[in-house]
Symmetry: C2
Subunit: 463 residues, 2 copies
């Protein structure tokens, strides 16, 4: 657990040294420092730059050695690749805990870089400094207002605290994850761009995140694992506690070739990864849309106890598509009993469909309270384990309010998802509904999420 404690300390630092801090906005060393200050980090910051007295209002040091402090919790190393191992040795003399090495030009560029990376790792071992990276944007801990990161889009954002941790081998992709999170109004606890993983790996961070009480869902972007067996052991125990969503890239031969020149990782056989993920109970997704679709449901919805799904729509066509999408993904859309259909027939029009899917028809637009009545009947019944709403209506927030009320009053512990396929015309109403119910832009996406929720429910139950 020593590694876990060191990562925890790096993410909750009291003393940070920034080597290669700069006054030049064309240098990453400028942005790193600016990000730390502007996002409100409260601890001590020691900028190091031989040519400056002050940077961004902070006293600057000529060298690591000349800093009148030691035991740094975190160092950020913003110097070119060829200087990094010397800097690490200097940091070691000051008892530095963890250093983020942001430079590119290591194993991802081939033989020459691989040698530099070996030298860096050696320096780290000798000086007992653990390394994040190289070839990384850095890390974020929203709970400490720590943005130790030079991604321009990342610096420009206000980061919202929330239950998701992002663990990504790709920096630029990690950056876009954070932008998506902001768009979706999803907060996060931790962001770690692991980069080339010359020292600390995904497995180490995963082990830490399992212990982090601010993290409920772990979202990973991975191209290749350096320590597959250890990763599996760790992941298997993490998924007992919290879900791991993984996007594994480098699945195909051209993807693997690209991965090698990106983070220097060996992507390996996709079938092996797939089998390993399944065995560990990792939820595998295939792009970031699916990743976010699933993440927002995992943080807000209970898990279904079984795979029987109820479908409630204002559009017959949408009901057909949802039924297809559910069944294709291994969910069941059971016919309702007479007890339910009779209740529904009591107020729905004669030409409504009252088995499953329920199509209230476009008449529901004149009778929005039907949404609430139907939700209550279905959620209270013992005939389904989860509910998907299909809305094709052009409407104000009224129906969102009715649906949320009905879910609240039903006191059910069943997940409810929604697909609302009318685009921007109902944007306000969708946003309102999203307070309680995840909304997806297509029936496929809603059903895909429900299938994942069911899968994770089985994984947790099966442990």
């Amino acid at each position: 657990m020593e590694t876990v404690h060191r990562i925890e300390r790096a993410l909750n630092p009291e003393k940070i040294v920034v080597v290669g801090a700069s006054r030049d906005p064309n240098k990453f060393g400028y942005w790193i420092l600016k990000a730390l200050i502007e996002h409100g980090y409260k601890g001590k910051i020691y900028p190091v730059n031989p040519k400056a007295d002050r940077i961004l209002g902070l006293k600057c040091y000529q060298s690591v050695k000349s800093v009148d402090d030691e035991d740094f919790d975190l160092a950020i190393v913003a110097v070119p690749a060829r200087f990094t191992s010397d800097v690490i040795s200097e940091l070691g003399e000051k008892d530095t805990n963890v250093a983020i090495v942001i430079a590119s030009g290591f194993s991802e560029i081939g033989e020459e870089g691989r040698k530099l990376e070996e030298k860096l790792v050696e320096a780290a071992r000798e000086s007992n400094v653990r390394i994040i990276g190289p070839n990384t944007l850095g890390i974020i801990n929203t709970h400490k207002k720590l943005v130790a990161n030079f991604g321009r889009a990342i610096i420009a954002r206000r980061h919202k605290k929330g239950p998701i941790a992002f663990l990504t081998q790709s920096g630029a992709f990690g950056q876009s994850l954070l932008c998506w999170a902001e768009d979706a109004g999803i907060g996060f606890s931790t962001f770690i761009n692991t980069g080339n993983e010359a020292d600390l790996t995904c497995s180490d961070f995963l082990e830490y995140l399992a212990t982090d009480k601010n993290t409920k869902v772990i979202v990973m972007y991975v191209e290749g694992l350096r320590d597959a067996r250890r990763f599996m052991n760790i992941a298997k125990s993490v998924t007992r506690i919290k879900p791991i969503i993984a996007l594994k890239a480098g699945r195909t031969s051209s993807g693997a070739r690209a991965a090698a020149s990106h983070t220097g990782s060996m992507a390996g056989s996709d079938q092996i990864y797939d089998a390993a993920f399944k065995q560990c109970g990792i939820l595998r997704v295939y792009d970031h849309e699916e990743m976010f679709d699933l993440a927002k449901a995992l943080v807000s919805q209970p898990l279904p106890r079984g795979n029987r799904i109820g479908i409630l729509t204002s559009s017959g066509g949408l009901g057909v598509q949802l039924a297809d999408a559910c069944e294709t993904r291994g969910l069941k859309v059971p016919r309702f009993s007479e007890s339910i259909t009779r209740q529904l027939q009591g107020f729905l029009p004669r030409f409504a469909a009252v088995s499953n899917p329920v199509d209230m028809t476009s008449q529901v637009h004149l009778n929005p309270e039907w949404w609430g009545r139907c939700c209550s009947i279905l959620l209270k019944s013992g005939e389904i384990d989860g509910l998907i709403l299909g809305i094709s209506a052009f409407t104000d927030v009224e129906i969102s309010r009715i649906i949320i009320d009905a879910i609240g009053r039903s006191e059910s512990s069943k997940p409810v998802l929604c697909t609302w396929v009318i685009g921007k015309a109902a944007r306000r109403a969708m946003k309102y509904l999203e307070k309680k119910v995840p909304v997806y832009e297509s029936p496929e996406r809603a059903a895909r999420v429900m299938a994942h929720l069911y899968k994770y429910s089985m994984i947790k139950g099966g442990h």
Copy 2:
């Protein structure tokens, strides 16, 4: 071709009679009339309602018989199901061309409705009136400002002229298609909600749309076909001229059950449909996202002559994902020749990836002109048939402008698609790029579209 002419006449009417026109905003007969007037239809309108003198400023007639005109190009019948066949007979006496029957309560509700529908068809045959519907929202021809449609969301929209025709069995789903089209800034020529297809079917409309010079791409939502063999013959010849994109719902047993109670259609075996679509050269999609993703590329991009795809990104991770997505869908991501890699190495950083995918690295943010230089080199080369851009940048419109310029100057006839994965942070820049290059929110979606373009290219070439 008589049927085609009758459909053409119905979509370009000079005289419309609206039976069941109403002053009551709770009645569809009110909205139908309002839609015709407000969207600027220029021909004659004869509202029929025994209890009103004027409706929405128009003189109203007691009955069809009392209208002092005949030879109606189009009738819109907004009376309850049980009165429709009598109305059709009256319309026949006035030599009506085509009647839209909007009422629900026919074959989609079971035995009783099926009898009503048979009666309706009989009346239509006897009186030589062709029928659209029943159970339909109606039709639209943007080129004639004809909105003969009671969908509330449809009436509320300004419809933009454009090259896509929507042919849909589901009304509510058709309504959401139009909302999506508006959001995406995509214009359309024709919208036809075929409903139960008691008389005129998808096949008839498809035959008409093949001849419509305002339609370049046909987008279909279908649950079941009543005349599969005829449909195949027609579709096969249509796809030689213009692409057909089809979303077929009712693929699974629960989906098929839902379809039966929706438009009364028999969904049939999905394998048979799948084989039939393939044989006809129809591009099958699985939800409306894929449908629009593809439609916007088909209207704006040339078809690729082969399946060799170039990938150009600012993010290594995105390059890996795009390569995976392309290869998974049968596209090739060939390594570039030394001639190309040397040109790229001439200005890209040492740690950039210069084979395929090309990863310019985040350094491109300081050198946005690299986008243009790389696009030119790749588009002019003979080594690829299409190009996908992967952008993870948080940026202004500058790079969009650079890319569009480079594509213009290259004078290539290769399709270019883009995935821009940073969400709203780059909304303006994305919108700007969309003037020329379709932009998708995930690498999966961009690659899926490119694979469809390649497929259609083979279909057209193979004819």
